[in-house]
Symmetry: D2
Subunit: 309 residues, 4 copies
């Protein structure tokens, strides 16, 4: 197989303040489909273009934020190797048996990254009951994509201490590579964008004193025009927008940031270059990273660094 | 590295009837940049978003058509492994020393596939002098993309006998996978789409009695709107169009087929789903493949099967 | 008022073979809304962005085709003037009293143009119950545009004898102007595109031996991307497509032609230049009009001249 | 003629601080063409899709801002009528002879509106040497549109005292209509959008204590995607952006505001509904006008009211 070890971030669990309001937001506006509820009442969702059982879980809690992200890997054998390599890297790994708190998912291994985030790895997951067509397929099946037409959970950006170590873990252990990095003037890592495939990023980290914070998680849209539709829905539904429609110079993606009803920041993302591990790495000076993030604005939007959950 | 073994089809050499006219066509209209000429007068070109020395070579000849495609692999070590595995698969492999007929390219191994096409493998190539920006990069550098704004050589479709064997070679030896296949009513392979990364296809084969034919090679454009620009340039420059703008249901890409001045078919291609090796394979009945290729037309365009070079 | 005399073609009545099937097609796929049924069972429809009571009427009949088009004029006073001027031009005018066969419509005057088509004029019509928002309006109201998101009935192209006389009538009597015309090699009028406002055309005529035929009537879409959505729906619903997505050089509009279930040709149209009466007229040679109609194809599509209803 | 009295704002003269820098900005980035210089050194420019001699004049001065806008009217007869009616409305009218300070322009009548702005009227102007093709025309001629691909000078927004009177003048004398208006809580006019054709606005006024100020003047782009290109050029050239890409709920247009090197605000504008004088007027509460102006942001951008030149 040419695409090996890690495939993609395949599951994210987020905390929300009001579950029903949140489910309505993610289904009616973002355009996800609700797959069902877990026994303990969490909501499972997925994009119309995803095959696995679910990719987003919402858990009602007293404050918003990030529970964990789980990365799908190539095979059960690779899963065992990566769990062992994670231990060797220095993180204590725990095991979550199959089909416990995440219906349809096989065994997961989890650990706490230096940045304070729980990261999980898994190799097996049941197929969802509603997936893209497989025989003489149309671009979409019985149900036309709705809302913002989010195709899939795409990537996430985490804030916490130790971005350099996190990068090293994802490269050395998980076999990802970093198409772009940003250093401080002192030459320490301020931010890193990492991918295991051809997306410009699967996961990114920004150096931040407080551990365990999430800046945003992102859904993939088809193109710039689909972002226009997403923005129309933001206007129509009076969704709290953060930035955009705009372009990142970093990853070259086109983007809108906005907030779910609990204050979690979401991105709808399109475009972005095709990354390859043999391409040279792009480098950002911290003084230019604002323009790198917001190419049309030409400077850092203050809320970008200040508002995390 | 998560993306291993083969990276992508990185080089194609095509025959054209009139070199200067062809270079003007590929640079002014398609929007490639000319890198230079080889000692024996072939023209080397590349897209504005490619890093390697060149990706398209035009050779003046008495008739148009396909000379060979070369696939970039992960490393020199993998190159040796793949050459050996190719021999073991049953194809006689020859070696083209570095920097001979393809300036900037390292050692290549070549062989003739059952379909009658020469396939080459290589691991090393010099970087082009004009590449995307690397330090605080803008989406494009000094020169704005021009013409159809072709970003890169993307994929190709070859016609010849033995599509099933070709598929088996690309999967078993090169480690690719086939996101979509099409069978005849008898259950034999009519067509196969293969990829080594996350593009829905890097290379495809259609079963065809005459060996060594090419249906088209394709350049990637950013999106549906960029296809509109390409179509405007086809109209403006009275380029001979074949089909499109339309959509493929196969790969879900948006597309225009047209001909270069020598009659070689080119595709400008955008969109397409993100492929993953763990996604289930899509299957096409031969009776539906016309609609799969031309989703808006709803049926096979006769020229699609009849005109190859 | 700066925009005077005629405002636009505001109502078209078409014959269809199966009314229910047709209503489903125009509402579910084209995206019109059904306003209601007339006492004699005809279906009244309108686009989501239209204010008047209805703009399209479907009448079940044994063969498809055109019943009439009605043009909205500035005021009841102008209506009387234009009726009188039409008589003076040489056409016998009849009167259709208000609120008879077209619910909500005021008095209409009708006549048969030299081309064999019934043309009507009216000044007053009730507002529809569902119209675009008027107070602090969003781009759309309670219901998001659906299907192809047709905004409005936009224009039509009629085939019949006497295109030159028809043009003269629309200019001299109705005060329209012809942004583009096409002549035969002998210098007689082959086609004319006429407008009373800033749309590149409200109505067009092609010289044709058989009277009373319609080539197509058109719905306005927002842009090229919206045409992509329309084309996706054509593919998804296996609608019989004629040509496109493509561009007209004539009017510069972007377009798809396809057929309703009865074989009436419909156009979805976007773009087009802003016409002004002081702009010089564009002229087409008959030998170039194929390219003018189908700029990407570069030549006349045979069905364009042969299939009319 | 159906489109009568006023045709459009056809000429605007603006003050800039550095003429050569400004000409480079408007030609290289906005994409206008320089027509030439006047005897006293002002620069004349036009969009690629305009027919008249020029539409934008830049005059070097110590501070930026608005000199005047000139509105093209239907005919010399109408020009005389409108000049007389303007006097009768209460404004002193002066005459600028043909071909004096605006090469190619016929006689103009000018006056100072209550808002402190000089408004001119004219009926005749020579055609530019470079105009859209007229015989078997392509969508563009020898030169492909460049930069932001501004098609034409489209509209302007003026700030000054007496918006209600200005509105009354444009409706009663010039025959325009106001598709949208905004009132204060006290019911006085805060803003008015006026048009003489089918564009949602040709000119707009906001009530403002200081006379003679301009908020922005606008260039028309083809669609949302063309706005993406404009935004890319803003990023690439580090142009000072104000707001957007975003959408107006008012006029429904898609938009970017940014500043020329002198600090004059420019808009690139696309979309917008087709206005008709028989459509009901849209009404905005002052409390909602922020959202009306910036539909994606959902609130007034502070710079919008504060920065005028």
């Amino acid at each position: 197989m040419s695409l090996t070890k890690t495939l993609r971030p395949g599951l994210i669990q987020m905390r929300v303040l009001d579950l029903e309001e949140s489910v309505r937001f993610y289904t009616n506006i973002v355009g996800l489909n609700e797959v069902g509820r877990t026994e303990d009442g969490r909501a499972m969702l997925k994009g119309y273009d995803e095959f696995d059982h679910h990719s987003v879980v919402l858990r009602e809690a007293d404050e918003p934020g990030f529970d964990y992200v789980a990365i799908k890997v190539e095979s059960p054998e690779v899963l065992e190797e990566l769990a062992k390599a994670t231990e060797e890297f220095g993180y204590a790994v725990d095991e979550v048996p199959a089909n416990t708190d995440q219906p349809g998912f096989g065994k997961r291994y989890g650990f706490t990254l230096c940045t304070g985030h729980r990261i999980e790895l898994y190799a097996e997951v049941e197929q969802a009951s509603q997936i893209p067509m497989l025989v003489n397929p149309d671009p979409w099946g019985d149900e036309m994509p709705h809302g913002m037409q989010a195709q899939r959970f795409d990537h996430l950006l985490l804030y916490g201490p130790g971005a350099a170590e996190a990068e090293r873990y994802f490269i050395e252990v998980l076999g990802m590579y970093a198409p772009e990095i940003c250093n401080t003037e002192e030459g320490t890592r301020f931010a890193t964008w990492l991918t295991g495939g051809m997306k410009a990023h699967d996961i990114a980290f920004v150096e931040y004193a407080t551990p365990g914070r999430i800046h945003h998680f992102a859904f993939f849209l088809q193109d710039w025009n689909n972002l226009g539709l997403a923005a129309d829905l933001i206007g129509k539904n009076r969704v709290k927008r953060d930035v955009g429609p705009t372009r990142h110079a970093i990853t070259r993606g086109q983007t809108i940031y906005f907030f779910d009803p609990s204050g979690n920041r979401i991105e709808t993302y399109a475009g972005g270059y095709a990354a390859y591990p043999d391409h040279p790495q792009r480098f950002w000076d911290l003084s230019e990273v604002g323009r790198g993030l917001f190419y049309y604005e030409g400077e850092l939007i203050p809320s970008f660094l200040q508002v995390v959950t």
